[in-house]
Symmetry: C2
Subunit: 298 residues, 2 copies
Amino acid sequence: MKLLVVGSIALDNIQTPFGNEKRSLGGSAIFTSMVSNNFCQTGLVGIVGEDFPKEYIELLSNNNIDLKDLSIVPGKTFHWSGKYDNFNTAETIVTDLNVFANFNPILNWENKQSEYLFLGNIDPILQLKVLDQMENVKITACDTMNYWIMRSRENLLKVIKKVDFLFINEEELRMLTKEQNIFQAADEALKMGSKHIIVKRGEYGSFIYTADFIFFMPVFPVKKVIDPTGAGDSFAGGFMGFLASEGKYDELSIKKAMIYGTITASFCVESFSIKRIKELTLSDILNRKQEIEKKIFL
Amino acid sequence: MKLLVVGSIALDNIQTPFGNEKRSLGGSAIFTSMVSNNFCQTGLVGIVGEDFPKEYIELLSNNNIDLKDLSIVPGKTFHWSGKYDNFNTAETIVTDLNVFANFNPILNWENKQSEYLFLGNIDPILQLKVLDQMENVKITACDTMNYWIMRSRENLLKVIKKVDFLFINEEELRMLTKEQNIFQAADEALKMGSKHIIVKRGEYGSFIYTADFIFFMPVFPVKKVIDPTGAGDSFAGGFMGFLASEGKYDELSIKKAMIYGTITASFCVESFSIKRIKELTLSDILNRKQEIEKKIFL
């Protein structure tokens, strides 16, 4: 089945204790689609400026990512510059929206038929607009951030009501629900209408919270985290990609998807940008699956 | 097999967002032994003053905790007063060592024969002294804290070299090893000589790190944490109590012990002091075991 991925595409400047990267490929839609293509047919919906390097287009294309809904327009590509002192939170130095400020996703008829949809962290108005265009969608998921929780709460709540999976980090979940206890917060988020809440906890892993079950995942133990940028989106790529490849989403498939998301996120943080995930093979993923299962199951 | 538990016994004043408690029963040896007696024969080694309430002695005694090495001496019992604003770190308001300042554990000949030993967080010199008195011990474990890491590093390193299990929280592990990455820090701690490092991560659970395997545990999801005091010691009580009841410590037993520790800690935090754990039954523990296994295994 096909997964459609909507989100930002960026040229990032990143500083971590292990070095600096300039104009490296980033953005939520990039991390998610560069991972999900290992599992399923993937379409990308996004916008870039004329400065967007041709080699990046080729890279996406060579990874069999469908670029019919990638708009290339006059102007500059979205730019984010950030710094990590520890690896749990980034300090944003610059956000230049550039052409992303005018992002208005209009889907090609073929993409409208996608059965799986991942809405990366963008304006909830745009997330709603994409949702409205889907004609055959079975499973939908969204991510968000503190900015939209504070500035566009009403629209975000409409999105949450419509999607099957809400990806959110702990701090955002507490902000969204005004609950401190993380499990009570997840309860509140369920009441908002999303069937499954996937709570991202950085170096502490993640858990999925539903009315029927909870399932916890630690991180895969990475001894040298080089750059955490995109970890959450890579998680979503592994999770949604696996579900799309399964074609079902019963409890067992969802739990397995949590494992695949954890694994793909672990590869992401081992290098700057998409350096590691662009080399990813199914056998890399399956090897790490075997390794992590020993660390979490009896 | 018998577990000997050495540590502090305190009368605590505790403030949390859910209320205040005065002169409630606390201290590492109390939480550990009040839990471990559900699994195995337990002996307590500690010191209290003449002000120590008789009802507490009876409570320990009624829980079949062997008190041969409980010293009751003139003076006041160790007193700790602390406050929690969030549930991950306590702010210490008062520490009155009182009679605990003169704690000098001399073991009864019967306790010297115990096969299992848990050294709660006390001066490493005393931990060494107890270790030296053990005549038939099979499995030993210790806990510690930032104070000893900074002030008594050499003696603490001697203890770590001798014990089978080191219980330590994340911050302390980073301080002990001077490594930021938690898995590298655990590697360093292994090099110090303890065979197994159990890293406690508060609301994020724990993991055990050995040369042969790693095993992660989330917390049992408690929706209303009333008082986290003693959670780590209750974890140790469930862990060591289960191992002592098994009489072996292969990989599978250790992983199961991690589950039992997680469960007993989850009961501890649901009430002030030992209110919940003093009511604990094996069937409570087994019910929660079934529940948590659904949340962590496929």
